[in-house]
């Protein structure tokens, strides 16, 4: 007989072991789908790996892909720490993309353009996140539902823009006009798409880690998430901290959109985000809400996405496998997290 037994502390190596366990379980489970599609499991995963991490160009592509998910992953990690259930990173990303695209289209010197794009994008994301936070604080509206519904509202607003005033009158395509060349983020490595935003994402992670672990705001965020009653008793203004968390979370998600406009697409279109906002939830959970863990988690998901396309071309397995892997990884990670709270003990069979 086995039983679950409560655990008081968890060893440090769990932080690494649990995500790896979850990812391992995910790959094993999803191999069934590859077999179902009639392809060799080893071959398919092999193509996936070599196309995403196999050579230096592939690695740069994966890093470019990981960048928006580092930002949305950080956005979700910060929010979930405070138990502010921000499922709206997708909409906040789109808002950030639209705002930075509008600013980037104004001619101005390069450094100023990039700075203002970042500021506008972060502000737009924060403004969107403010809605569910305000609704929760003032009207007790469930933040999950309102932030989810808001994603649809923002998406339609974006569509109204690119099919309306921003529509390309020349081709008739629903795409926004491109931003100024001077506003394009500089490429760091000749011949790749590795842009300045990638570096920004890699710097943002330790910065947010420092904020969460070492600053007063970070402490408050953690306390209202873990024990709001104790926080209130300790004199922390829970509502105010919740709103600050939402602003920070929304700004980070908005920056994901800025990076996509300034560094990758240079304009806005309807499919600018293939669900990076939702992927951020998977990233944050794989990272156990630790901002430093967000970086490798985002790189993993990016590798899966980049790799899945190549795998699909090579083996015929639908590239949607990467969506299944994301969902499975999230669920597997949640199950793996049980090991932090419980340990499995063998006990004698009761006679």
């Amino acid at each position: 007989m086995f039983r679950l037994e409560a655990r008081t502390s968890t060893p440090a190596w769990f932080n690494l072991a649990l995500p790896l366990l979850a990812i391992g379980a995910t790959l094993v489970l999803c191999s069934g789908l590859i077999a179902l599609a009639g392809a060799g499991v080893i071959e398919a995963y092999g193509v996936m790996f070599s196309a995403s991490l196999g050579d230096s160009y592939a690695i740069t592509e994966t890093l470019v892909r990981a960048t928006p998910m580092i930002f949305t992953g950080l956005a979700v990690a910060v929010a979930f720490r405070a138990k502010f259930w921000n499922i709206g990173a997708e909409g906040q990303l789109l808002a950030g993309a639209v705002a930075s695209c509008a600013v980037g289209a104004i001619p101005m010197p390069a450094p100023l353009a990039m700075l203002l794009m970042a500021v506008a994008g972060a502000a737009a994301g924060a403004a969107v996140a403010l809605v569910p936070a305000t609704l929760r604080v003032k009207f007790r509206v469930d933040d999950v539902v309102s932030s989810l519904l808001l994603n649809s509202v923002i998406f339609y607003a974006l569509m109204a823009l690119i099919e309306g005033p921003w529509k390309d009158s020349f081709s008739g395509y629903p795409i926004s006009p491109p931003i100024e060349d001077s506003a394009n983020f500089p490429v760091l490595l000749e011949g790749t798409r590795l842009h300045l935003g990638v570096v920004a994402a890699f710097l943002a992670a330790p910065l947010i880690w420092f904020l969460i672990v070492r600053t007063t705001l970070g402490f408050r965020i953690r306390v209202i998430g873990e024990n709001p009653e104790a926080a209130r008793y300790g004199g922390i203004h829970v509502e105010r901290v919740l709103v600050s968390t939402a602003l920070l979370s929304g700004a980070l998600a908005g920056l994901a959109g800025v990076g996509e406009v300034g560094g990758v697409h240079f304009q806005v279109m309807s499919d600018i985000s293939p669900g990076y906002g939702y992927s951020g939830i998977v990233v944050a959970m794989l990272a156990r809400l630790n901002p430093l863990g967000v970086v490798p988690a985002a790189i993993f998901l990016a590798a899966v996405m980049t790799g899945a396309e190549a795998m699909s071309r090579a083996t015929g397995v639908p590239a949607f496998l990467s969506d299944v892997i994301q969902g499975t990884a999230l669920l597997a990670m949640l199950v793996a997290l049980l090991f932090t709270a419980y340990r499995i003990r063998r006990v004698g069979v009761a006679k």
């Binding site: 989810l148 649809s152 339609y156 299944v324 892997i325 969902g327 999230l330 669920l331 949640l334």
Partner: protein, 314 residues
């Protein structure tokens, strides 16, 4: 204003409301059963999509519409069981598990659909149900053709509302569901199995979400498309709050939402050309958010919602 009023009392408009409300009613009732037992199911969006896919596929391969409906219901029940396994048995976070179930089911739906049907320029479609006029009632003016000349799944939704109310308020099982959602400890002392009851409620809820998905792919669109559900599952969660976790009120909320949605569709069509059509598409979502803001202050959720139950922990 008179134009709006004229529109409302047209047969076509009333029929549109009923058609839009049907999948929402199934989904809302499904989510309501789950939440009454204390389990929030954010998997609803993905469960509806996957059920829509399996229902469509089963019909498309077998030629039988009812086999498709059965496949969708079973899919919903299985995914409900999966969500229950994570949230009830293992006691994991209902929020995150629900998102996980949605991501997983949507991914699986896309993957399997592409695997079975390949990439086609014209998406495959099925021949849907015929309408089933109800004798005598369908001869009533306006109401007759709009309400009583509908698809059998629509009638099922109409019957599902009183049935859900009866099950929830008048049967021992319904009492157990309400008990484990309000006070699982007391239910446990009274000899009700909290785990089993929650499991059953979430599975029943999943099956109803499956019916919602089946209606979308097999009646409303006669095809499976990737944007098929497009937020209807999230709307259903809001409607449960709006309907205060009651079958009748939830169904009323679904009708109200359907009215707004049908109205925006009409407004799109009736040449208000200077307003972008996206503004109308947004309308039902904004309406839902506002409705929640108005209602949530007084809404009392089942007290054990979101709280896992572990017998040995006091």
């Amino acid at each position: 204003m008179s134009v709006v009023l004229e529109q409302i009392f047209q047969v076509g408009f009333l029929a549109a409301i009923i058609r839009i409300a049907t999948p929402l009613a199934f989904a809302t009732l499904g989510e309501m059963f789950s939440e009454r037992a204390g389990v929030l199911n954010l998997g609803i969006e993905g469960i509806m999509l996957l059920s829509a896919m399996t229902g469509f596929t089963a019909t498309s391969l077998s030629g039988s519409l009812w086999l498709g409906v059965l496949a969708a219901v079973l899919t919903g029940a299985v995914m409900g069981a999966l969500h229950a396994l994570f949230t009830v048995t293992l006691g994991l976070s209902q929020h995150v598990c629900g998102i996980g179930v949605t991501l997983f089911s949507s991914g699986l739906a896309y993957f399997l659909y592409r695997l079975i049907f390949g990439q086609q320029s014209v998406p495959p479609s099925i021949k849907s149900f015929e309408t089933l006029p109800i004798p005598i009632l369908s001869d009533l003016p306006v109401l007759g053709p709009a309400v009583f000349n509908q698809f059998s799944l629509v009638y099922m939704a109409m019957l599902a509302v009183p049935l859900a109310a009866f099950v929830l308020y008048r049967t021992p099982w319904g009492l157990s569901v309400r008990m484990v959602g309000e006070n699982p400890r007391a239910a446990d002392s009274a000899g009700v199995s909290v785990i089993a009851t929650r499991f059953q409620a979430v599975i029943l809820g999943g099956a109803l979400m499956g019916l919602a998905g089946a209606f979308l792919s097999m009646v409303q669109f006669n095809a499976f498309t990737f944007g098929l559900v497009s937020g209807r599952g999230w709307v259903a969660i809001a409607l449960v709050v709006f309907g205060r976790w009651d079958p009748w009120r939830s169904a009323g909320a679904a009708l109200l939402f359907a009215f707004v949605d049908a109205l925006q569709l009409r407004m799109q069509a009736s040449g208000l050309g200077h307003i972008p059509y996206e503004a109308f598409l947004m309308l039902p979502f904004i309406f839902t958010i506002v409705a929640m803001a108005v209602m949530s202050r007084n809404a009392v959720a089942p007290s054990a919602l979101l709280k896992p139950f572990r017998r040995e922990e006091r």
